[in-house]
């Protein structure tokens, strides 16, 4: 997205929503309304897929000239210069023009900004590698049983809460009990939890404990899942403990408004919260007792920075680093002297979706309808051929977004199949396909009619927010007009974020006036696309289903798919199927940029970065621009 402060917040909200959705891999979690995020995937600060993106071969490639940039030229790790000093305080900015909510507990937060803050003091028990899989390097280690259903976790001995109490298996089990509690007020309870044995009974109030969760001893926890799935290892296990000695006496319904969440939150991470200015900033000091060793910094201040002044904040040295930087401001500020820009491929894509059916809310499933305007796959394919996404990426985004090919973005290099041929800009081909499929202009108004000879007017819904939203939507409409398709902007204007998703179908009541729409999804760490394209997924906005699709998606989370090669093949087939069937077509992949002040060392936005305590600075204050 581009520009405008307001837009940035919307965009962020969107991504929260999207992450949330993608994480609901079970498919029928309808509670993910509007802006509630439930990122089960355990996002630490910064997400990236690190080193593997080198070979990712998009048409954009590294083209330094013409003011174009390529994400491949960015590193995820800060280069270190000079000698680090003792202590120092890092200034970390949250780029948003609204206040953060301040629900500072993993079990209850819903906004990304709260998650960013949590990342500094409340650590995940499980760390992950650059392929998003859990590793044994974190605060807890795990073993999997032969049938892949039972996990045995051992929490390391020196892991202690900020108040000195040890983190125990009891605390972790308590976290599950809170989320599974019938009184639970947050948004986390979903397929990842119902897959635990006995969780549904506990949630319904029929059992006093969760039968699948067993506290073996003080530091050992055993969790048994109903269904084995490779998704469990990429964010499917809830890795956050909750201090039972603090929350044990608080009724679950009152937890999210308790001072233990809002005012004095604790964790076992490298920093501990000292003071909170609600909605504005959080001051943290180092946790000397941190299990990976004493942090090098004295503390961290996390504060809100307005997107329209974020450049100035960097120039004057007000902030050292931010969660994400508005990519559209990059070209004008690429040579800022006091920062280094880090970058990575974002876990997201923009796409054009076609409405092919409706949502049956009674059975909570997708119902395809062959009589929809967009039901003809040739029409959809022609529309893909008609747009020049390569040019869009280069001209609107200076190459920082680029032509997308399949529905698994290159942020998941293991599964993104770059060999798949997808339609690229070729208006002649689009016209040919339309002619062949019977879409011809019969009444001489310059616009094609459908094969039955009726007027074909396609209503296009697109979201406002972001400066390029408007020209981009108009560009697509023009391109489709150019091949003779009468595409009109729904209501003649862009839709506001929440209205847009309501009309597209986030509440299950699809607006029949929408024929096609432009949306964006953030994808979770787990590559499984069931939450977005499964036939039971509310967020399957195109309302597309087919036997093959269902079979492939099921296969992707089956036991056979513990074999990575098998899973790769399954998802490669699924990506091909999506290119053939085109319920949606991806338009752009995105990059994520994060400038860091030159004084900062050992900083990284890589997804497997789990060493906040190593971050150091070379000067007392951030360096200002020359």
């Amino acid at each position: 997205m581009k520009k405008i402060s307001f837009s940035k917040a919307l965009f962020a909200l969107m991504l929260i929503l999207l992450l949330a959705l993608a994480a609901c891999s079970g498919g029928s979690d309808d509670e993910g309304s509007g802006d509630s995020g439930s990122d089960d995937a355990g996002t630490e600060e910064g997400t990236d897929e690190g080193t593997d993106e080198g070979e990712e071969g998009d048409s954009e490639a590294a083209e330094g000239e013409d003011g174009l940039y390529s994400i491949e030229d960015f590193s995820t790790d800060k280069t270190n210069e000079g000698e680090a000093i003792e202590g120092g305080t890092l200034q970390y900015g949250l780029v948003t023009d609204t206040a953060f909510e301040g629900t500072l507990n993993w079990n209850f937060y819903s906004g990304t900004y709260d998650a960013e803050i949590l990342g500094w003091f409340g650590e995940s028990l499980l760390s992950n590698d650059d392929k998003y899989r859990y590793t044994n390097d974190g605060a807890a280690t795990y073993e999997v049983s032969d049938d892949n259903r039972t996990f045995t976790f051992t929490i390391k001995d020196n892991v202690n809460w900020h108040d000195g109490e040890p983190v125990t298996a009891e605390d972790w089990a308590f976290s599950f009990e809170v989320i599974g509690d019938p009184e639970y007020t947050g948004v986390r309870y979903g397929a990842d939890f119902t897959n635990i044995e006995g969780m549904e009974a506990y949630n319904a109030g029929e059992a006093d404990s969760i039968s699948g969760i067993e506290v073996v001893d003080e530091k050992t926890l055993k969790i048994t899942y109903i269904k084995a799935s490779p998704s469990l290892l990429t964010g499917g296990i809830w890795p956050y403990a909750m201090p039972k000695h603090i929350f044990g006496d608080i009724p679950v319904a009152e937890m999210d408004s308790s001072p233990e969440v809002r005012e004095n939150p604790i964790g076992f991470g490298p920093f501990k919260v000292e003071s909170i200015v609600p909605g504005e900033s959080v001051t943290m000091v180092k946790n000397e007792d941190y299990w990976q060793g004493e942090p090098k910094l004295d503390g961290v201040t996390v504060k809100v920075v307005n997107p329209s002044t974020v450049v100035q904040a960097f120039e004057t040295g007000e902030v050292d680093a931010v969660d994400s930087f508005p990519a559209d401001q990059y070209p004008d500020n690429a040579d800022m002297s006091n920062v280094e820009f880090l970058g990575m491929i974002d876990l997201a894509y923009t796409y054009i979706g076609f409405k092919l059916g409706t949502w049956d809310s009674e059975n909570a499933e997708v119902v395809m309808d062959d009589s929809k305007k967009m039901s003809d796959v040739n029409l959809r394919r022609a529309m893909w051929y008609a747009v020049d996404n390569d040019a869009v990426g280069k001209n609107f985004y200076n190459g920082l977004r680029w032509n997308a090919t399949t529905l698994i973005p290159p942020s998941h290099p293991e599964y993104h199949d770059e060999t798949i041929e997808t339609p690229t800009y070729d208006p002649e081909e689009a016209k040919r396909i339309l002619d062949e499929a019977g879409y011809v202009d019969t009444n001489g108004d310059g616009m094609r009619e459908n094969p039955e000879g009726e007027e074909l007017v396609i209503n296009f819904a697109s979201m406002s927010g972001g400066d390029t939203a408007e020209p981009l939507a108009n560009y697509y409409i023009q391109s489709w007009n150019a091949v003779g398709l009468d595409v009109q902007l729904l209501d003649g204007r862009l839709q506001e974020f929440n209205t847009f998703y309501d009309r597209v179908g986030q509440s299950g009541e699809d607006d029949p006036a929408v024929d096609i729409y432009q949306g964006a999804w953030g994808v979770g760490y787990d590559v499984n696309p069931q939450g977005l394209y499964g036939h039971k997924a509310l967020f399957n906005f195109p309302r597309y289903e087919s036997e093959e699709n269902t079979a492939l998606l099921e296969d992707g989370v089956s036991e056979e798919s513990f074999d990575v090669e098998h899973r790769k093949q399954v998802y490669s087939d699924w990506q091909k199927l999506m290119v053939e069937e085109i319920p949606v077509f991806p338009t752009l992949y995105r990059s994520l940029l994060a400038p860091v002040n030159n004084r900062v060392q050992n900083y990284s936005i890589a997804v497997d970065f789990n060493a906040l305590h190593e971050i150091a600075v070379t000067e007392e204050e951030p360096i200002a621009a020359e």
């Binding site: 520009k3 329209s308 401001q329 609107f396 390029t468 020209p471 981009l472 108009n474 204007r493």
Partner: protein, 302 residues
């Protein structure tokens, strides 16, 4: 011209009639150099904008051109292009036309409604006045901006005309009140009373006798309102509640400046629109002030 008829006798020849209102206005404007320049500027800009926009193709101007994004001013694009590769000069012309059209339309419509409403309310007085003024009070306390924003959100498609209607619905009250208070005074004057005694119908007295005597007030108020309405439209568009970008207006051009990058590095997108709004409103105001003086014999310079 209100009650100044008698004094004017010597300036007229032949028929004993006071100089026409138009002539007094004209003299006042000529005397005031600033007002004269403003008027000439206004006439030129209006003629230019409406003239050129006949030739310009709006559809072509709002066509997104991927390969001409953020071009600085050049021979091809006199005022550069915006982030959609659209010519700013063309947008400025069409935008000014749209903004002016809305300003004028809203002024005229609020004027008509306000005058009729005020006239009836003031002339009949009593219960009629009481009821009508309470209705007016109701409209007055509505939060204008919020209601307009909601309206714009609800109405699926709107044109220059419908948008003017929405604005008119909440802007006629000021002028109605003003006219009513004037009419309250006017109807007590001898000529109105005499006409009444002679059996003229109320309609006739209202529209052919009282109304001509308050025209100067109407013209002055409406001129000053014009400046305010242009500003209001630009403000709404600036906030994003006016026209979509495919219908440029001065406000949408100005709103590009909310982007810090545009504000800092691409002046050509927003400076012309900002300058034009400033000049337009100043010019209308200058003319309006001159008219105001002309309408009041004690303040006249000419």
């Amino acid at each position: 011209m209100e009650t100044t008829d008698v004094k004017m006798d010597e300036t007229t020849q032949g028929v004993t009639k006071s100089p026409s209102g138009a002539r007094i206005f004209w003299r006042e404007i000529v005397r005031d150099k600033l007002a004269l320049i403003s008027l000439i500027f206004l006439v030129l800009i209006t003629a230019f904008v409406y003239g050129i926009s006949l030739i310009l193709d709006q559809k072509e101007i709002v066509t997104v051109d991927l390969f001409a994004i953020h071009q600085p001013p050049s021979e091809e694009f006199w005022l550069g292009t915006d982030y959609g590769g659209r010519d700013i000069f063309g947008q400025l012309i069409i935008g000014t036309r749209n903004s002016l059209s809305i300003g004028i339309l809203v002024t005229l419509m609020t004027g008509v409604i306000g005058v009729v409403y005020g006239l009836i309310s003031g002339y009949f007085g009593g219960h009629v006045d009481n009821i009508m003024m309470r209705i007016l009070d109701f409209f007055l306390i509505l939060p204008f901006l919020m209601v307009v924003i909601v309206f714009v959100a609800i109405v699926p498609k709107y044109s220059v005309f419908t948008f003017s209607l929405i604005m008119t619905a909440f802007l006629w009250m000021g002028i109605a009140r003003l006219i009513r208070s004037k009419v309250l005074q006017e109807k007590e004057l001898d000529y109105a009373q005499a006409s009444k005694t002679l059996g003229s119908s109320n309609i006739k007295i209202m529209f052919t006798q009282v109304l001509p005597n308050i025209t100067s007030l109407i013209i002055v108020t409406m001129t000053l309102n014009l400046a305010a309405n242009i500003g209001l439209e630009s403000g709404l568009s600036f906030l994003g509640f006016g026209f979509p970008e495919s219908t440029p207006s001065l406000g949408t051009l100005l709103s590009y400046a909310t982007n810090p990058q545009t504000l800092e590095y691409r002046w050509w997108i927003w400076v012309p629109a900002a300058v034009l709004i400033l000049l337009l409103m100043l010019a209308v105001r200058n003319v309006g002030e001159a008219l105001k003086r002309a309408a009041d014999a004690r303040q006249r310079r000419g």
